[in-house]
């Protein structure tokens, strides 16, 4: 499918089991929701493993996964589909959501608050007892495949009032809350994904915990597990600790020079 709309979509079954370390009851909860086909909302800060979790569950449930990263120019047609001109004819092309609905995939709308409000409304009929998707242009009402499941992700720390998720949307989902894993588990994840030893991973996690406690000191969000993994991967490529942490953890978090200085001091302590 064309990527001209700027959206990122993928449609495949995941053959190889993605690495995922459970931190609570999320697997059980998701499995139960899937069993009765309830839509799921994953809440949590950025980079704490929401997307990886969906991939893991898709593999576990042996369902294909369609991921759409939402953005402010995402139109309803980008999700549902549109007519295209082919030679002198018009041809209908299903969008990622329609494909997932027809084929019984798990459709994952990442960062749903970023999407335009009119785009979020079209999922409403899919998320209640109707389980249908209306395609206005074609005048078609598609009933969802029995295996279809809708998952959205949402970051509650999101700052803008103008982009909060509407209650009418929120109240259609079962929510699973994510947070940064506890130190031991996070270190295990960083060590596995970043390819560094447990000790180094623990140091990275301890650094991240300190950075996270600076939320009221100018940082809107703390260092995510994803950033720690990046740092670990750089360290694995023989980049010195300090530089790896600076590039992978601190610089992405803030542009404030003084804040960066404090972050640098914290790194210097650890390594």
């Amino acid at each position: 499918m064309s990527h001209k709309t700027g959206m990122e979509t993928a449609f495949n079954t995941i053959d190889q089991e993605p690495y995922y370390l459970a931190t609570g009851n999320e697997i059980k909860m998701f499995q139960a929701a899937y069993d009765i086909r309830l839509p799921v909302m994953l809440k949590g800060p950025t980079g704490c493993g929401k997307t990886r979790f969906v991939e893991y569950m898709a593999h576990r449930l042996k369902r294909p996964l369609v991921t759409v990263s939402c953005h402010e120019d995402l139109f309803a047609t980008d999700l549902v589909g549109r007519f295209l001109l082919k030679k002198d004819e018009t041809v209908w092309m299903d969008g990622p959501l329609t494909i997932a609905v027809r084929k019984g995939a798990i459709c994952y709308l990442d960062e749903i608050v970023e999407a335009r409000k009119d785009s979020t409304v079209i999922i409403h009929s899919l998320t209640d007892y109707r389980r249908t998707l209306g395609i206005d242009k074609k005048g078609e009402m598609v009933s969802a495949h029995p295996d279809f499941m809708l998952v959205i992700s949402y970051n509650p720390g999101y700052q803008s009032v103008l982009k909060d998720l509407k209650q009418s949307t929120r109240q259609r989902f079962v929510s699973i809350e994510f947070n940064y894993p506890e130190a031991e588990k996070e270190a295990e994840i960083v060590s596995h994904e970043g390819g560094v030893g447990k000790d180094e991973a623990l140091k990275l996690v301890s650094l991240a915990q300190k950075i996270r406690s600076m939320r009221e000191h100018g940082l809107t969000e703390g260092a995510s597990t994803r950033l720690l993994i990046y740092a670990a991967q750089l360290i694995g490529r023989n980049i010195p600790f300090r530089e790896a942490c600076m590039s992978a953890i601190c610089l992405p978090l803030t542009d404030d020079i003084k804040l960066l200085e404090t972050l640098n001091d914290l790194i210097e302590d650890v390594f």
Binding site: T77, F83, L85, V161, E216, L266, D269
Partner: protein, 921 residues
Amino acid sequence: MQLLKELSFADPEIAKSVKEKIEQKNIALSKGQAQTLYDEVTWALSVEYAFGNTLAAGYIGLYETAKPDKVEKYKELVRKAGENGPTFGRLLAEHLVPVLADGDERLLESFLDAVHAMQQKGTYALSDPLKAVSLLLSKEDKKSCYVFLRILKGLFSKELTYSESRHFSHVLPKEVISFLPSKRFWQAEELYRIILEDYHLADLFFDGMRKGLSFLSQEALKEFVTLGLQKYAKDKLLGMKFISLESRFGADTLIKLQTSAPLSNVKLQLARYMKAKTGRFISVCPLSLMPGVIREAALNENGDRPFVFSDGKFLYLPDEITAYENYEENRGLYKCLARLESGLYEFNTFGFDLEKAVKFCGAFGDEISFPRGYKNEDDGIREDCSDLEKFFRIFPLWEIARDLFNIFEHGRIRIISEEKYPGLVRLSYPLLIREAGMIYNEEDPGKFLFLLYMLIALGEPALENFTPDDATRKSLMMIYGMFEKAMNMERNVETCALLVFQTYKKVDQLISYRPFKMPFGRRLRPDLYFAVHKKYEETGRRIRSELRKKNISVFKSDVVSSLVKNGGTLSNEDIKDIVFSFRDFSDSHGIKNDEIPPDMSLSLFSESDGKHDAILYPEDNSGSPVFWYREWDANLCDYLNDHVRVTERKIEGIKSDFYAGTLDRYKGTVKRLRREFELLRPEKIKTLRRWVEGEEFDYRALLDFAIDKKAGLIPSDRLYIKRIKQQRDITALLLIDLSRSTSGLVMEANRSVHEIIKEAAVLFCETLNVAGDRFAVAGFSGTGRFGVDYYAIKDFSEIMDDTVRKRINAVSPQRRTRMGAAIRHATRRLEEAPSRVRLLLIISDGFPNDTDYRQVYAIEDTRRAIFEAQSKKIYVRAITVDISPDSRLDDLYGHFHHNVISDVRQLPDRLLRIYGALTRQ
């Protein structure tokens, strides 16, 4: 005495006060002296009462300290002055005293010259400068006083306008007194040079001093002023900008010349670092703002060497560090000191628990003897002090125990840091070792303990450098061995207590105690920590004994640390953790514990406050509209209908330069914020390209269409342009807490919390005006449920004009904070606004507090009011200033709905940033 009697006929009060002073100071008045006193005072009284009074005090002062010829001089000069008018006479009668008491002829001459010069401008010019002269002499800063008098003479001999004279007579003394005492003399000399060249430069020099010149060394300031004056001679404007540090070149020169690092440059970074490292909010307090007793002690112990110590609330550091020859190293030292001190909190030094320590020591089966027959922690050795101090007092020579504990504790932190923070050890310990070396070279205090400190606390094999004799070496190594063994066993703070028990006797036999200096004055201060956390210590003790009655054992330290962490409250879960912590400890150390599993009833900890002292207010006759609101009663779990009366009042504006002054003070910030918010303001018509339907074709897309088609590719159907009208449909209400507590002064800003909140409101108004958002500003305060006042400062419909500005000028701290009612009223006002997005911003300095409205009750009602607002689609965001982050704020406002700005000075800028982030599209 006869004369005094006669004086009492002239004025009994003065006679009485003279008599008292004579007796108090034990002065034996000769007949002649008494006669002079009588004659002069009665003469002065005949001129003016206050003059007579001052003169009487002056004579007594002189009779006590000055030689007779000086008294004669006094008489002559004051007589002469008095003939020129009572005010002049009184000023001289007062301020000549310290000058004459000093006895220096040259000083008197300078004084009279300066007075003469000022007198030429008018008596009004004398008051403040002469007060400053007396103040300098009382602080024994005669050198600075000389220079100051020269400045006065130099300046007031020039042709000055009336307003210039007034200005300088007020500003000059204030500025010179504000110079640091240790630098005042040579800083005043440079001011003198500036004024000699052109007195118009003086204010610019003061600006420069505030911006950083005050941190230059003597030579550096001299060089800077020389450069500035040279520049001024060539180009007046550039020279002026240079001296006031407004020009880039001036600022660069300052950086080049600056070797000392001022604390103000790193203060925020250090506080942030401490927060990240320890999870606690520990502010940084400079020496100059320390409480008097602490400051004196710090100065006595450390002289002008850098130091650090802390009490869990503040990290105490010198105002500036000049230990090294360059700025970066001096600045780095601040960081190093903060790094070292953070370990005490991260590794729980002050969580020392005497009961735990005793149990711990007992568990290791060592022969611990308690020299003072100590049995348990309730023995009452001294209740009103920390556990650490109690522990030290167990030993006959408590200083030895204290020093040994310090050594082992610093050693323990070093060992843990070496594993956990190798970087910290690599960066900071060399500085500690260097400092220790300097101390050792300067004096040789308590050699054995010092060597032990080097060995254990600093991990420095000091024995090579300091060559002790064999016996000392052997003892040192033995203790070191014990320390290493203990650290391999367990690394609690209590382990250090065990080590003290094990080594005290040996050390006591070996040395005759002399205190030794620790590098950077890093001796632990459990006394200060205790003083700050006394409230929690007492609650902790109470909870422990209450639990003991229920046959549940806990460690007090666990209770206290939980209280500190939760801002003074404990949940059921916390208590469980505390109980299990005791059990874990007992189990892991084989201590028998046969308690019954506890019944976690918490009723004993709830703060019940059943008083009902509602004040009934008379009906308001001012015609201000009155509204009644319900209130949530947390005890009843229900609303009390029509329970709170809110009066909406209008503020009468006043003329003042507050608004304009704020805009001037923040002119850089205002400019930046205006620019940023202009960007938030949408263009009126927005063109959307590449739409599937629209008003007209997008020609670029059509071109792509044709090309794609030609190439056999599938062309895009997004061929249209759409134009839509855009609006930023936001309504905001800024609700300001006007409680009395906001009147507290923020030392470093020299303004009250309230004034800074007002400044934030000014910036808010200015900026939102640019963004085009509809907004209102209101304040609230009151006493009791019938007396909540809601002050409408700016309504949504009003434009930002002088009326509103004057109202902001007039806003002042009132009474207390019944927040729920204020939020309900603000919600009502916001509800009337037609916008799609409605935002209520609350600025407060803490928790709600009013008659019958405290703690859980107040928190629950406020939270309720916020829920009610949210249910009406109003987004509430609270900003709490001037307190440390507190988990109870999450209860009050909800986790994602508030910000804490501990350093209130950041509020004006942060408020707008928060608003900007909330409303970005």
